[in-house]
Symmetry: C2
Subunit: 97 residues, 2 copies
Amino acid sequence: MAKRLSDQERAITIEALSDWNHDAERDAFYRQFKFASFVDAFGFMASVALVAERMNHHPEWSNVYNRVDVVLTTHDAGGLTSLDVELAQKMDALARR
Amino acid sequence: MAKRLSDQERAITIEALSDWNHDAERDAFYRQFKFASFVDAFGFMASVALVAERMNHHPEWSNVYNRVDVVLTTHDAGGLTSLDVELAQKMDALARR
């Protein structure tokens, strides 16, 4: 099972993932992605879904037309783990395409 | 443009769509769908996305693992229209498969 990030790891990660916000209460990352259309937004979600399923680590997310709001945290660990960092990086990469 | 339901149409619709709840403040329908897995939940969302895009009428929805929470309303009309009724029926049918 993924271990919760140490305080030092968390600080470095928050600095590195500059497009993401940190919810200290839940120890979660959140970010809004905006696209040109619903097709683009859902295309992004479909790509992320495949990546998430392969990782066996899934986002909490909502979609309204061209917007996708994402929350990442690891429930089993009670906060952020390396899985959240990896999924955040992969989502950023998929959103840039 | 789709016209907002009349009071009579709304009453009939709320009665007919028994798995959906009515948010009177927003004049919206909402429902939670639960599936066996993330794959099933996202498979449902992918089917609905194609239907919604073809209708040019999209849900507000969120997904956490095997759960999908949906809100249906027609922003342009300021409340429920026949488009919401149609999309709700189609989502019910897709979820039953």
